[in-house]
């Protein structure tokens, strides 16, 4: 997935041997949306969005935070949590080695970055998954960091924004423990909801599987970046099951909007204004005194 990373063709593919595609190395890159050859710096200045056609490229969690929140307002939380290898899982490579490689390659400790920040002076709790780290999949650490963030948002009575970029869904290398993170995070969201919280879920390319089937779908308000791939089962799995041609635009943000599962499609550039606006409409009530 995400062969269109701005860095190199294999930045987020999880497959180092794959040859680099297009001309992303160096100064220029090719837009998969309109085919234009773009000056990389121009794209980066534009929050990794094509200035010609508004194609939304991959953006790392950290870059997104930089663009989204008021400058220097981000206070990171729980970055000391580390994945371990509870199942001693080995496929073509051991999970232990994979984790080491992912950390080195992405300079992230895990597939999610959490903390408190401000947009236009309004405080909120942010959790952002990064599809470059193990396809943005959710294992024990992603689940735990989400739950702690949700519990913090509940305690501090702050709005919660989770931005999802996960093609991996639940992380297979942690087996059933990953599946249980779906339950754990959803339960925390239920408590937050009972306490009157405001949860804005932002779906970006890609949001699939166990992530889609848990927290990503549970927003009070659901926003999506244009043309993101969002769904439960992967298009190939569906094709293999039904053997029918999939409809045009199947499982895109626009498809979800048409079927009633997304409130608004939001350009990356507009997200901070839209969030500030939503926070103003949906103000959290002060804690009831007992």
């Amino acid at each position: 997935m995400n062969q269109e990373s701005l860095e190199t063709g294999d930045k987020s593919s999880g497959n180092q041997r794959r040859p680099k595609r297009g001309v992303p190395e160096g100064l220029f890159l090719r837009c998969p949306g309109c085919g234009a050859t773009l000056y990389k710096k121009d794209v980066e200045r534009n929050q990794n969005v094509c200035p010609e056609c508004d194609h939304h490229f991959y953006i790392s969690a950290r870059d997104r935070i930089t663009h989204l929140v008021d400058s220097d307002s981000f206070e990171e939380w729980f970055d000391n949590l580390r994945s371990v290898d509870p199942l001693a899982f080995v496929d073509r490579k051991s999970y232990k080695d994979r984790l080491v490689d992912e950390r080195k390659r992405t300079k992230l400790n895990e597939a999610i970055v959490c903390g408190r920040a401000f947009v236009r002076g309004r405080p909120f709790v942010a959790a952002i998954t990064d599809s470059a780290f193990s396809m943005g999949s959710m294992g024990s650490v992603v689940g735990e960091k989400l739950v702690r963030s949700i519990e913090k948002a509940t305690e501090l009575r702050l709005p919660l924004v989770i931005i999802s970029a996960s093609g991996g869904g639940a992380r297979m290398q942690e087996g059933i423990l990953s599946l249980m993170q779906m339950a754990k995070v959803s339960a925390a969201l239920a408590k937050y909801d009972d306490a009157g919280g405001l949860y804005v879920s932002v779906l970006t390319n890609p949001t699939m599987g166990g992530v889609a089937a848990s927290f990503a779908s549970l927003g009070d308000i659901t926003l999506a970046e244009p043309k993101a791939l969002i769904g439960f089962a992967g298009p190939r799995t569906i094709w293999a099951t039904v053997r029918l041609e999939l409809p045009k635009g199947f499982q895109t943000s626009e498809f979800l909007l048409a079927h009633g599962f997304v409130d608004r499609i939001v350009h990356r550039r507009s997200l901070r204004d839209e969030l500030a606006n939503i926070f103003d409409y949906c103000r959290l009530k002060p804690k009831p005194s007992k």
Binding site: L81, M172, E174, A183, A212, A216, I238, L244, L246
Partner: protein, 327 residues
């Protein structure tokens, strides 16, 4: 219970061979009562079955969990409950036959039963999509569970699915949202919930009716984040040719899940698996459910929800690094 020869699992071959020899011997000894030879062979057969089933690999366990003669929700409903009063429909889209729901009587308790149903013959299986529910199935389950909550009925969920249905219509009607919504709502349902994996417990499709105060598995059921075939295809990238290794690596047997703290109990199956003796399997299940009901049915809705939250809150394994290293 006689199992049709077309359903023999490869590793069961020696069992069925010895069984055939035994029945021949029994037929020949007609009128002479039970001879020593017959007695010895019966003992040998028991030992063989025990030996085979004590040492099942993860993949063989998956095969047993998928066995076509394995009891399904409908069998347990028939064998365990005194009455089943089926309720249909999700009040929005339709009636998904992959999940059955209804009131039932279990001993002195009136409960709501929710269960995946795969189907027993080709026609039933196609009507029920092999137990793969669509969004309306999860919605139907939740609607009925909310009904149970309103009238204080405990909920018993039987999980037996290869996964939620991966189809065009399922995506159009919000498969992700319906599953996610069940996880959220079941976590705060103010009535006792018992979940049992009776066969296959695969991915979000299983978890969608799997949030409970007590979660248990039948001995040869499996419960997994993805099917072994799916895991093989994604991580080994060669179709399902590594499904045996994937099954082993994901630690999906009842023993593994008990060790990982994900389930409360492993419910013992009769010698040689539930498919060989539906009645004993049902009996074992019934006694565990009755114990659970005695343990939790007196708790208040708030107590249940608090304890359920703590139960799932604890799940996961990780390290917390401090500035000086990991703790």
């Amino acid at each position: 219970m006689a199992v049709s020869s077309s359903l023999y699992l490869p590793f069961e071959k020696p069992i069925y061979e010895l069984e055939a020899q035994l029945s021949e011997l029994e037929a020949n000894s007609n009128g002479k009562g039970v001879t020593d030879e017959v007695r010895k062979m019966r003992r040998d057969l028991d030992n063989l079955v025990r030996k085979v089933y004590e040492n099942l690999s993860a993949w063989q366990t998956v095969q047993v969990a998928r066995h076509q003669a394995r009891p399904q929700s409908s069998d347990y409903i028939e064998l365990i409950f005194e009455e089943f009063f089926e309720l249909h429909g999700d009040r929005a889209i339709g009636d998904d036959k992959a999940i059955v729901t209804g009131f039932a009587k279990l001993g002195d308790y009136r409960v709501l039963v929710v269960g995946h149903q795969k189907g027993k013959n080709t026609q039933e299986r196609s009507e029920r999509f092999f137990g793969c529910a669509h969004p309306e199935g999860y919605r139907k389950a939740l609607e009925k569970m909310k009904l149970a909550e309103k009238y204080g009925l405990p909920v018993i969920c039987m999980i037996d699915t290869p996964g939620a249905y991966p189809g065009i219509g399922a995506e159009q009607r919000g498969q992700s949202l319906m599953i996610a919504n069940n996880l959220l709502e079941m976590s705060r349902l103010k009535t006792p919930i018992i979940c049992t994996v009776i066969g296959e417990g695969c991915s979000g499709g299983a978890l969608g009716i799997g949030i409970g105060d007590r979660v248990c598995m039948l001995q040869f059921a499996y419960y997994s984040v993805i099917s072994p075939e799916g895991c093989s295809g994604i991580l080994w990238k060669e179709g399902d040719s590594h499904k045996e290794e994937a099954a082993e690596a994901m630690k999906l047997t009842s023993k593994d899940l008990y060790r990982l703290g994900v389930i409360d109990d492993v419910v013992e199956e009769p010698l040689g698996g539930a498919h060989r003796d539906h009645r004993t399997a049902a009996w074992n299940l019934k006694s565990v459910w009755l114990r659970y009901l005695r343990e939790i049915s007196h708790l208040s809705g708030e107590e249940l929800v608090d304890q359920r939250y703590s139960k799932f809150r604890r799940m996961g394994v990780f390290e917390e690094a401090s500035a000086g290293g990991t703790t």
